[in-house]
């Protein structure tokens, strides 16, 4: 839109950008230092004793961190893929069409974000037990869809509300099959939305605690479960080490998708406009 930004705007953007990065990265530095510290007391600027013990524990068989890392990645990826499969058609319906009871459907979709999870988790538990889904990885993946779907559907309905289905009609009149139309016309134009929604879904699933604990029945041990054990008991060194491992996948995915999150693409811009 604007060919050349003025110097003022550019330096303002640089300043806010750096502030944001500092604000995001700064809290991670003490976490990283703690993971190598053996005792770090106020007012010392740096720990007086260094140790690899927290990392040795984190990588030991006893802690189960590495097994749990792979399991958590698998669960979150599966929840993300399922969220996309359900969220894209749902978002299309909500973004493109008006139908009776649409507002009610929207409310139902938003409900899991509005109602605190802790309030309904025991009820969910008994439903999952009656379906025989408790204590299984598939049950945990399914239950993660409850908090991930609202984000996915919200993003996709935002994308589709700015989407012109006439392009699809045009492709069809030019002889493309429905599959080809989807592949060459629909998918490329909604891709930024899928990436942003998928990222939300992945990170929401990645950070689930109560739902995983109850539905997984302790058999499905994801990283947040291990992390909480030490975070609540004041072991900053082990919390730091597991925490560094915990944030890794999020950072990797963020790097891969960063160019889609610039704020100028349709998915982010129209977020929230159902």
């Amino acid at each position: 839109m604007v060919g050349k930004d003025s110097l003022g705007i550019r330096s303002f953007r640089f300043l806010t950008g750096s502030l944001l990065i500092i604000w995001l990265v700064l809290p991670l530095i003490p976490l990283a230092i703690w993971s190598f510290a053996k005792g770090w007391f106020f007012p010392d600027l740096l720990p007086t004793h260094w140790s690899m013990r927290a990392w040795e524990y984190a990588f030991s068989d006893t802690s189960g961190v590495i097994d749990s890392l792979w399991l958590t990645i698998g669960i979150s990826l599966a929840a993300t893929v399922l969220s996309i499969l359900i969220g894209v058609p749902a978002g299309r319906a909500l973004g493109l069409y008006n139908f009776r009871g649409k507002q009610l459907v929207e409310l139902m979709i938003l409900a899991p974000i509005i109602v605190p999870g802790i309030a309904v988790v025991l009820g969910i538990h008994s439903v999952f037990i009656s379906f025989g889904l408790n204590n299984t990885v598939s049950g945990v993946i399914l239950v993660h869809l409850i908090p991930t779907l609202p984000y996915m559907i919200l993003v996709m309905s935002g994308v589709f509300s700015n989407y012109d289905p006439a392009y699809e009609a045009q492709a069809r009149t030019l002889g493309a099959s429905p599959l080809k139309t989807f592949w060459y016309v629909t998918l490329p134009s909604i891709m930024p939305g899928i990436i942003v929604g998928g990222l939300f879904a992945f990170l929401v699933s990645w950070s689930q605690y109560v739902l995983t604990l109850l539905i997984g029945g302790g058999r499905v041990v994801t990283l947040p479960l291990l992390l909480f054990n030490f975070a609540t008991s004041g072991r900053n060194d082990i919390t730091g080490a597991i925490g560094m491992i915990y944030i890794l996948p999020g950072i990797i995915i963020l790097l891969f998708t960063a160019r889609h999150l610039s704020g100028r693409n349709g998915a982010v811009g129209s977020f929230g406009q159902i």
Partner: protein, 410 residues
């Protein structure tokens, strides 16, 4: 509706049945009184899911590596340690399963438990009871000791097995404080003379609640009047005095008592960073582990009070719907063995006091216990035991916690 659920459960049970390759020992009553060899052979090749607080790498390593190793090598049982942030999470799983009609396919085989959670399990019919005589190592337990036979005032009655003992102890930094206060009235005076240097976690934090009970005992002029069932009149009288003492103390606390630490780990962080000068814990051995793990300065010293500190026994319990009861019983029997209790008492492993009567163990184990070198900074268990106070019944405890929140922590 009920029928539908039952039909659904039956279907699930049929689907899940082939997974359980080893013997299903959900029927606990058939195990009671069986010869131990039979129980062991039923447990062979199976697994046991033990849910316990997972916030200490030392305890985790002891359980997974030492206890898990014995189960694997000697009994061919796979120990699955499930770490919790709060024991009530495991109790809620069992409770949810019972409400949904899961009566023999539960996911929890054993919980490290005591106090309020035990009361919930026992009164809710969530515990497997009456089997303790079947464990060979049960003979090492001194059930005639009321501190073992009662869990926070609730009679155990064969529904759980003791695992460890703990007694409340304070700690201070010898580099900062010369002579720490050694009784509840001294602590109150000391806190007033050193404003901002003392605080306690807000009940219902487990440890904060114990501190408030010490003040409650002091206000009552001793614990003897408080034992037994809850007595409203007695409670009202003592509680009024307790809240007066604590409210009077409040302006001298850390941040003028406008806020209290939310958990014991928050208090320990305040202590480690020199914001407050006293800390305490129900597990006295924690001082040693915290020094070794770099959580506390190495100049920290644990100590007991001259007017006594409260002690408890903690236990392991088998839920009524555990499908691996035989394996859980084998695990409990291993935990009670002299060898496992000695390993647990080693200061660099855990340093926890034995729950068994050591004089009933073999000469070899007794000699090992006699040669234990406790961590020099930990308040010696024998010394603490000289002034041990009993726990109140859980009904008293919840009344005190609620009263504190309404009258002091508001």
């Amino acid at each position: 509706m009920k029928n539908q659920i039952n039909a659904g459960l039956l279907a699930c049970a049929l689907v899940l049945a082939p997974i359980a390759a080893h013997a299903d020992t959900a029927d606990g009553s058939s195990l009671i009184g069986k010869s131990w060899d039979e129980v062991v052979s039923l447990a062979k090749g199976g697994e046991v899911n033990w849910f316990l607080w997972g916030g200490s790498d030392n305890i985790n390593q002891y359980v997974t590596e030492f206890i898990g190793g014995i189960l694997k090598d000697d009994f061919d049982i796979k120990l699955n340690r499930v770490g919790l942030s709060d024991t009530v999470e495991a109790v809620n799983i069992v409770l949810g399963e019972k409400e949904s009609g899961v009566l023999d396919k539960g996911s929890v085989d054993m919980i490290w438990i005591n106090g309020e959670n035990f009361r919930t399990m026992k009164q809710g019919g969530l515990a497997f009871c009456g089997y303790t005589e079947t464990l060979p190592n049960n003979k090492l337990v001194d059930w005639s000791n009321p501190a073992i036979a009662n869990d926070f005032g609730v009679p155990v009655e064969g529904c759980e097995v003791p695992w460890s003992k703990a007694q409340f102890a304070f700690a201070y930094d010898t580099a900062r404080t010369n002579s720490p206060p050694k009784s509840i009235p001294e602590i109150i005076d000391w806190a007033k003379a050193n404003p901002g240097k003392f605080t306690y976690p807000a009940p219902p934090d487990f440890n904060g609640s114990v501190f408030v009970r010490h003040v409650f005992y002091y206000a009552a002029g001793g614990v003897d009047n408080l034992l037994g069932d809850f007595d409203q009149a007695k409670y009202d009288e003592v509680a009024a005095k307790t809240w007066e003492i604590l409210n009077d103390l409040e302006p001298s606390l850390w941040r003028e008592g406008k806020t209290y630490p939310a958990s014991i780990s928050a208090l320990e962080q305040l202590y480690a960073n020199s914001e407050v000068d006293l800390t305490f814990n129900y597990e006295p051995a924690g001082v040693g582990l915290n020094i070794e793990n770099g959580v506390f300065p190495p100049t920290t010293q644990g100590y007991g009070l001259t007017d006594g500190t409260i002690g408890n026994t903690n236990y392991t319990i088998i839920p009524f719907n555990s499908p691996n009861k035989a394996a859980a019983m084998v695990l409990q029997n291993v935990l009670l063995s002299g060898q496992a209790q000695y390993q647990k008492a080693l200061p660099d492993v855990w340093g926890a006091a034995a729950a068994i009567d050591v004089s009933r163990t073999s000469d070899d184990i007794q000699a090992k216990f006699a040669s234990l070198n406790p961590h020099p900074n930990v308040a010696p268990a024998a010394e603490l035991a000289k002034a041990a106070l009993p726990e109140l019944q859980a009904s008293w405890i919840s009344a005190i916690e609620k009263g504190w929140q309404e009258n002091v922590g508001n």
